[in-house]
């Protein structure tokens, strides 16, 4: 089926891209959530959406969609149409609602995206949640500190207050160093929503036999070599706790340790 056929089926107006209507359409996707479109989109996709703005056009362009049909009679503004025209992206608009529009195309033999999305976590949640997972290799001192710096850069881009960035960077760094120094490997996961910032750290390591003792400032099992490098002052876990708003720890000897630290974002973004 070509784009022109799809237009006829949906009785759609053509807003721009007349010259590309002979493009073949094989796959259709329908969503108002652009983060989902980014996650499941593929080149040549015909996108049906009720989101009629420049955002939809840009997203379609990023995934290299074959065309976009706006449903429910919605129409994007002229800037969006211009952008699409410049990028060779056909835009159409139908007065049909989303479901019947999808239904008609399906009836005529068009199908949707069948692949299962690999990073289900990021695609299934709201647009406002940012998730990042970092792998940390035990014993790799050359890369130690990179994760906390990357987190700092992300938070700075988002306009998080500098005090919170500092606390997060210190806590993340200590957690990262604990994995580098003691564990075989581990992961650090950052979840950020407009309300809270949560860091979960899980390692495959020796575990901690006595957590209360480990949480005491000054207690350390660091070797002399680690101390030589400036670590192992027995400040790691207490420091993580002190810098986070909420802290929990679970550990199994011989298996590993899980940390969960959260930070409140009540002050939101920097205003200035």
């Amino acid at each position: 089926m070509t784009l022109r056929d799809a237009c006829d089926i949906l009785q759609a107006d053509i807003l721009t891209g007349e010259e590309h209507l002979d493009r073949e359409v094989k796959i259709v996707g329908a969503s108002d959530l652009m983060s989902d479109v980014l996650a499941f989109g593929q080149p040549g996709l015909l996108l049906l959406t009720g989101l009629a703005n420049v955002q939809a056009v840009r997203t379609a362009d990023i995934i290299e969609a074959g065309g976009v049909i706006f449903v429910r009679g919605k129409r994007p503004d002229q800037d969006s149409v211009d952008l699409a025209r410049r990028n060779g992206l056909p835009l159409m608009a139908t007065s049909l609602m989303m479901f019947p529009a999808c239904g008609r195309l399906y009836e005529k033999g068009l199908h949707g995206v069948t692949k299962t999305v690999s990073s289900a976590r990021t695609s299934s949640v709201s647009e406002e949640l940012l998730t990042r997972t970092f792998e940390i290799a035990g014993g790799d001192f050359s890369k130690a500190g990179h994760v906390s710096m990357e987190i700092k850069d992300i938070l700075q881009e988002l306009g998080i207050s500098s005090d919170l960035i500092r606390r997060t960077a210190i806590a993340a760094y200590e957690a990262e160093m604990n994995i580098v120094m003691y564990a075989a490997r581990g992961t650090l996961r950052l979840d950020l929503s407009p309300q809270a910032l949560v860091i979960e750290v899980a390692d495959e390591g020796p575990g901690i036999p006595d957590i209360d003792k480990a949480m005491t400032e000054g207690f350390s099992t660091a070797t002399p070599e680690m101390r030589e490098m400036g670590f192992g002052a027995g400040m790691g876990l207490p420091n993580i706790k002190r810098n986070s708003d909420d802290f929990s720890i679970r550990s199994t000897v011989g298996r590993g340790t899980d940390l969960r630290l959260s930070f409140r974002l009540n002050k939101g973004t920097a205003e200035e």
Binding site: H20, R85, G145, E157
Partner: protein, 450 residues
């Protein structure tokens, strides 16, 4: 929002869009748009790397021409001690200073003296300092700007002692005004600068309303006139020409020079912006708290490495060291009286006026939800870019480019690698010139439903 002034500008007539500056810029503050370099005000810290990088001399430092002296009834030159390292071994500071007088300055001031006083003042300050450590030196304005932009958390750790050049200007103007019965505004105090950033710190100080200096003249600009105005007479005995030189202050021209004078157990000296960034990253992660004082410079080897110097960086570093060695050997101790400095210190003579405010980068969006959305979009765009950081799009890295796209400052089709791949795959051509027929957009692009 206030505009950030800079001491560097692009001369569009000379700029050929070669992107050398863009690749060298340590803060990714340069883009090349329409084949011309553009400096992003918010990100620039005035380090001057781009000046050295440009083969066409298209990046111009903004300093005062020597003709500006005529705007004042009386003028005083305050040369950076780095000037002392720009000439041959036999040319000692006294000859340089008298040469400056012949160039038209009414007075000259040996800044090494003031630097020596400030060394003592820092010692006093550190005695009862119990705040967060390490303290960070504040003589290099690039470092202050770097802290404002990238490490706003560390601003509290900036040493709150006035920089010697500012103190010197303040005091000299006061005393000359008194001596000649002139208002202070008739006295022009000019810093002879090894780097362009001092100009910004004069036009727009990071911490206070205005600078005590009236301008900065580039060492490069006065080098030739100074060479010819210096007394060609046979050198005096080395001892005579050195006897007024302060051994403590002279070292301020080179990295490590301040720390040397502080008698601290734990201090670090670091130069070159990329190295400073590594050290500051560590401080921000909560490390290096056992260090009392960090002396940091944007230029390699300290002020002798400034982009407006003439002499080779390492020879000038070495020349300063040699003079210090000679002073030690000759046991010349022409340093300020420490008791006087202590008294002045207790009268807040050295205290820094005003505070340094953070200058964090503009977030992707003021609203956090929207910013998160944009960050994800940026990463999605980045995922689809070649990630070879070729710079051909006009941004230094693919990530910076993705961010520019999200901020609406660049277009995805500016990536030539991606465009080439698209065309090879038979994709639609973008940005085709509009034919006359396409101008009547409403008729052509909209079609009634059939």
């Amino acid at each position: 929002m206030n505009q950030y002034l800079h001491s560097i500008r692009v001369d569009p007539d000379r700029c050929k869009g070669l992107m050398k500056c863009m690749h060298r810029c340590p803060t990714q503050a340069i883009r090349v748009r329409n084949r011309k370099a553009v400096i992003l005000d918010e990100k620039c810290v005035d380090c001057g790397e781009c000046i050295n990088a440009c083969p066409n001399g298209a990046i111009v430092p903004l300093t005062n021409p020597i003709g500006d002296l005529s705007k004042f009834r009386r003028t005083v030159a305050i040369p950076s001690p780095a000037l002392y390292a720009q000439f041959g071994r036999d040319i000692f500071p006294d000859r340089i200073l008298s040469g400056l007088k012949k160039l038209g300055f009414d007075d000259v001031h040996d800044l090494a003296q003031t630097c020596g006083e400030v060394s003592f003042a820092i010692q006093e300050f550190l005695k009862d300092y119990h705040g967060p450590k390490p303290l960070i030196s504040n003589t290099c304005p690039v470092i202050i700007r770097l802290l404002q932009v990238r490490y706003p958390n560390l601003i509290d750790q900036i040493l709150p002692i006035e920089a010697p050049r500012e103190l010197a200007a303040r005091e000299i103007k006061r005393s000359l005004a008194e001596r000649y019965g002139l208002p202070e505004r008739d006295i022009g105090a000019f810093y002879l600068t090894p780097c362009p950033v001092k100009m910004v710190s004069i036009m727009q100080p990071a911490e206070k309303g205005r600078s005590f200096l009236d301008g900065a003249i580039s060492i490069t600009d006065i080098y030739r006139p100074l060479l010819t105005s210096m007394d060609p007479s046979p050198r005096e005995s080395g001892h005579r020409s050195l006897e007024n030189l302060c051994i403590l202050g002279l070292g301020w021209a080179i990295v490590g020079g301040i720390s040397r004078t502080l008698r601290l157990r734990n201090s670090l000296s670091v130069s070159s912006l990329s190295e400073v960034v590594r050290v500051f990253d560590d401080i921000e992660r909560g490390k290096l708290t056992d260090i009392d004082f960090i002396e940091a410079y944007s230029c390699p080897q300290g002020c002798v490495g400034g982009s407006l110097n003439v002499e080779n960086i390492y020879s000038s570093y070495n020349k300063i060291l040699k003079i210090i060695e000679t002073l030690e050997f000759e046991k010349i101790r022409a340093c300020p009286d420490i008791r006087k400095v202590r008294r002045k210190y207790s009268e807040n003579f050295f205290s820094l006026e005003g505070t340094v405010e953070p200058r964090p980068p503009k977030p992707l969006h003021p609203d956090l939800s929207e910013a998160i959305r944009k960050l994800k979009e940026r990463d999605e765009i980045h995922r689809r870019l070649p990630k070879i950081d070729c710079g051909a799009c006009g941004a230094p890295t693919c990530l910076a480019f993705a961010e520019d796209v999200v901020r609406g400052e660049a277009k995805l089709e500016d990536c030539p690698v991606r465009e080439a791949e698209r065309l090879r795959a038979g994709g639609p051509k973008k940005d085709e010139p509009e034919g006359p027929g396409l101008n009547s957009r409403t008729e052509n692009t909209t079609r009634g439903s059939s």
